[in-house]
Amino acid sequence: MLKAIGVPSFEGLISNIPKNLRNFKWNIPPGISELELGREMDEIGHANKNFKYATLYLGAGNYDHFVPAVIDRLAFRGEFITAYTPYQGEASQGTLQSMYEYQSLICELTAMDFSNASMYDGASSLAEAALLALRFTGRKKILIPASTHPEYREVVRTYLSFVDAEILRVPMKDGAMDMEQFERLMDDNVAAVILQQPNFFGVLEETHKVSELTHKSGALLIACVNPISLGILQPPGEYGADIAVGEGQGLGNPVSFGGPHFGFFVVKEPLLRKIPGRIAGMTVDKNGRRAFVLTLQAREQHIRREKATSNICTNQALCALKGAIYLTLLGGEGIRKLALLNLRNAHKAHERLLKIKGVQVVFKKPFFNEFALKISRDKKKLKNNLRKRGILGPLALGDFYPELDSSYLIAVTEKRTDDDLKRLVEAIEAS
């Protein structure tokens, strides 16, 4: 090959690189075989307590939902996992059609008009929604309740670091947005109101009232929703959300220490041309056959560059594909059933735990599959007793909300059994 190129050695190909750049020393050990690699990775993995062999009561944005075997079998097919962005549509109909189907499914689930083909995660989707609202309305304020996931609030703040805008935190009352404070802060310089449903505490917010007040001032409503909850909760499109975003992890993706997952981003029609990210559309080929293609590309970075609606290029396609397969496997009746199982298990746990002496209600408002409880027990003892019984979590809320010290956030999905609950009760009682 070197002969064909016309150089005597490889060095001849890179002779234009300054010599002093070539002399560096790096501290990297020699390579190992696949056998040795497997062994080493297993060993490192032993230092992780995984929840296949333990009971997870942690949620807060990533949930232990059951993933049927079909999903990985299909999504990890080489044709999906080793393909890339479908720029050559004719050779990527698999990717494009599944993107279109994903978009359609998310629109149906959320009762919104248009979806993109995925964003990085729920938090960054929320931040991009805020940016869109600021640009679209020309106004300068974003209202976000204190009951929104703290990491999401931080991501929104980071995204808006150099944008001429103000983020106003609406205080919470009884675990949900304080409506009085909300009305007080609302004015006609507010571009958007963010509402997480259910919120960080699993509590249901007053969506209709918030929507009414938001639109009265001419602001946009950005709903940040849990997709599984939409099996029984009213979808954001029906309570007037202009943009709906959320974390898609619960739809067929493993928790995987926080990523990769996907954020969904759906809008009502007037905002279509402003949304970030890739979009697949249905059209025809030159012979009139149905075909799918990337469309409305003129919004994106590779065409608009600094005037693009966002800088996003690579998205979370494979994770969204898993979500689409998962929703297809569920069907409309299935997702309702799944949501009911979550609701039931959580309410059953809530009722049982409150019977324990020293366990008290924190918020009186209704909740979906996650709730906060105050557990007046020695923290160290409680931690040990939970560990002894193989229980991971619940989440100590004092780390996020200092005023909620001694309170814990407990997530209960369809996977939690009566036996799991029994052990959780025992752990608390023993502390």
């Binding site: 041309r273 409305l296 590309q297 003129a298 065409i303 608009r304 005037k307």
Partner: protein
């Protein structure tokens, strides 16, 4: 048929016709050829104030987005709504049905400093 010699032009391929204080603006045949199939026309909001040479709106093709510049200063008085459903009109009839917007000019004298047809053809051929 519009008499193209009566129109004035910009170096960025817009044509302008002036009627009293109202200027009508569109893109030239050269521009529509460069854009090829227009797929979306993002018209300016009525009432918006524009300055001469400021980007007033965008025409999109499948693979590109083109800024259209206001040839004169003033307020956007009217826009060609028909382009919302039929963006291809810009290609088919750039000087007639494909007009883009009308400006209520703050300084109609700006019209005089625009290019004549002869000047525009000169600029165009020099490969601007």
């Amino acid at each position: 048929m519009t008499d193209l010699s009566k129109l004035k032009y910009t170096a960025t391929h817009e044509w302008v016709s002036l009627n009293g204080k109202t200027a009508t603006v569109g893109i030239t045949d050269y521009a529509q050829k460069e854009i090829s199939d227009a797929v979306f026309v993002e018209l300016p909001k009525e009432g918006r104030v524009v300055r001469k040479k400021e980007s007033a709106m965008v025409i999109e093709s499948v693979k590109a987005a083109f800024d259209i510049y206001a040839p004169m200063s003033g307020k956007i008085a009217k826009v060609n709504d028909s382009l919302k459903d039929k963006p291809e009109t810009v290609n088919k009839s750039p000087y007639e049905q494909g007009w883009l917007f009308q400006i209520e000019c703050s300084d109609p004298k700006e019209f005089e400093s625009l290019l004549t047809q002869e000047q525009y053809l000169g600029v165009k051929d020099s490969g601007y």
